[in-house]
């Protein structure tokens, strides 16, 4: 099977992701006790070799963080979710989550925020396709002066396809932007295509 998604499959994936974002935003809104304005996440399939250049410009000039978390589901669904964001942004959402920044290490705060964003979103995706996911502990790949492009290059090397999801959360009085990358290895791409085909056949 081809590793390129058909137009129908792409549409299907975009819709699943839109709904997953909606579910995640609703959960976050309840949890944070504020309104979350969600924008439709722009999704794009890129080959993993293209990734570092895409993010180098956006994340090289400021203090930024890159956190990775593996996910594993049924039907051969697996991959690695990477959340990229600027640290300045992280401190805003940390304040909302009720972190007292002096009593907690920055690394812990980063992994917590990423894990919340990743798992709420992917759980929303999994529910729609009657799947469920388990997660590995989040790992900070690079933060502050760390070279984001280099860290991504090293990670992306083992993956074939990346689903780039631009996520932008806007909370009342706060805006929080981040990028999420779902890195998916070759055989899992085929499995995802099968899942999408099955869904398309159902309707």
């Amino acid at each position: 099977m081809s590793k390129v998604f058909s137009e129908e499959q792409r549409d299907c994936l975009q819709e699943l992701i839109n709904v997953a974002m909606g579910l995640a935003s609703d959960k976050l809104a309840r949890f944070l006790n504020t309104f979350v304005h969600l924008q439709v996440p722009a999704i794009e399939l890129v080959s993993s070799a293209q990734i570092p250049a895409e993010f180098e410009t956006r994340y090289s000039s400021t203090d930024s963080a890159l956190v990775s978390q593996g996910f594993l589901g049924n039907d051969g669904l697996r991959g690695e979710a990477i959340v990229l964001y600027q640290l300045e942004n992280a401190h805003r959402i940390a304040a909302l989550l009720g972190y007292e920044t002096d009593s907690i290490s920055e690394l812990e705060m980063l992994t917590d925020i990423s894990s919340i964003l990743t798992t709420t979103f992917l759980n929303g995706l999994a529910t729609q396709i009657d799947n469920s996911l388990s997660y590995s502990a989040p790992r900070v790949l690079s933060s502050r002066q760390g070279n984001v492009a280099q860290a991504l290059l090293e990670t992306a090397y083992h993956w074939e396809l990346a689903l780039k999801v631009d996520i932008s959360y806007q909370l009342i009085d706060h805006s929080f932007n981040c990028d999420m990358l779902l890195l998916i290895p070759g055989e899992a791409v085929v499995n995802i295509q099968q899942i999408l085909t099955r869904i398309l056949e159902e309707y």
């Binding site: 309840r30 972190y99 992994t111 798992t119 388990s134």
Partner: protein, 323 residues
């Protein structure tokens, strides 16, 4: 909770801690691992508050974590690298670890029973081995870094690291407009010493003079071995006059007392060239070395065991060759 023939024994034998609390943080289950390590009996603590049974857990932190697990119905994690342990427990290799307590990687998972009641499961993995390896790695890296910076014989900075520091200090001095001076000095007649007392004799003089010089320097000065018997000292926040005074004290400290080697008394002296940073720009540190080197050359030519400060006029021809 553990009455199933398969999951029950596995949970009890598991080399990880499994703890379940309800939404009020009351203990519902503890596996054997936690009961043994924590010296508690499930029957005695079931229904009690987690914070009462394990009184030193970080309560506010754990409440927030559990709240996110329950509300978002998604897992939460904690790594020993950020928080050494969540529940203070002894570990099983007390002899070979520098920490008294078990390093823990924790996962918090949402659970529900048939009636829809919600729980949080805390999985605790012993990461003490990783912690120990990480510590060995850190100390090895530290030693490596040290040996990368230090000259083995004299315990001064080696040339590469010293030059890096010189460069940084020059940049800093230029940025904050502070004076900076450089001393370059040379052990006089080193070849003769080696011929007369052997290389070990020469080495012992180098070791002794390094120690005497170091004793007269401030913590903020950078003392490095530049070449065989040549040394450099970066004097931060010091103008030429002050640098010359330091240099004269160093000269005296070396020449006033002989070094004893194999019951021989070895008389030695040093010649010192001094220069103050005046140039700006990318190559300022190289120009400074060149100027101190010219002064050192003049100190040698003028009869050794003396201090010469660089003066621009008389040595212009030499500067050009070092640029």
């Amino acid at each position: 909770m553990s009455d199933n023939w398969l999951t029950g024994p596995v949970l009890e034998q598991l080399n990880s801690g499994v703890l379940v609390v309800d939404e009020q943080f009351q203990l519902v289950y503890l596996n054997c691992f936690l009961q043994r390590h924590g010296s508690v009996q499930l029957d005695e603590v079931r229904g009690q508050s987690l914070f009462k049974v394990f009184s030193d857990v970080p309560e506010a932190w754990l409440r927030r974590k559990f709240a996110s697990v329950l509300e978002l119905q998604s897992p939460s994690f904690s790594s020993w690298e950020q928080r050494h342990y969540v529940i203070k427990l002894p570990h099983m290799r007390p002899m070979t670890s520098s920490s008294q307590y078990m390093a823990q990687n924790c996962t918090m998972l949402p659970l529900s029973d048939e009636a829809g009641r919600r729980y949080v499961c805390l999985l605790i993995e012993d990461a003490t081995d990783t912690f120990v390896y990480q510590q060995h790695l850190q100390s090895t890296l530290q030693k490596l870094e040290h040996s990368n910076r230090i000259d083995g014989l004299t315990q001064c900075l080696n040339r590469r690291y010293w030059e890096e520091q010189l460069k940084l200090e020059v940049q800093r001095a230029l940025r904050y407009q502070q004076p900076l001076s450089l001393l370059l000095f040379d052990l006089d007649k080193f070849k003769q010493l080696n011929d007369q007392y052997g290389h070990l004799g020469g080495d012992s003089v180098l070791i002794e003079l390094s120690a005497r010089v170091r004793a007269l320097l401030r913590d903020t000065d950078w003392f490095g071995r530049y070449g065989g018997e040549e040394f450099g000292i970066v004097l931060t926040n010091t103008a030429l006059q002050g640098a010359v005074e330091v240099a004269e004290r160093l000269c005296l400290a070396v020449s006033s007392l002989a070094v004893t080697f194999n019951e021989c008394s070895i008389q030695s002296s040093i010649s010192i060239g001094v220069a103050q940073l005046t140039n700006t720009g990318e190559r300022a540190h190289e120009v400074l070395i060149g100027q101190a080197d010219v002064a050192l050359y003049n100190a040698k030519r003028n009869g050794r065991n003396r201090v010469v400060a660089f003066s621009p006029g008389e040595t212009e021809f030499l500067l050009k060759t070092t640029d």
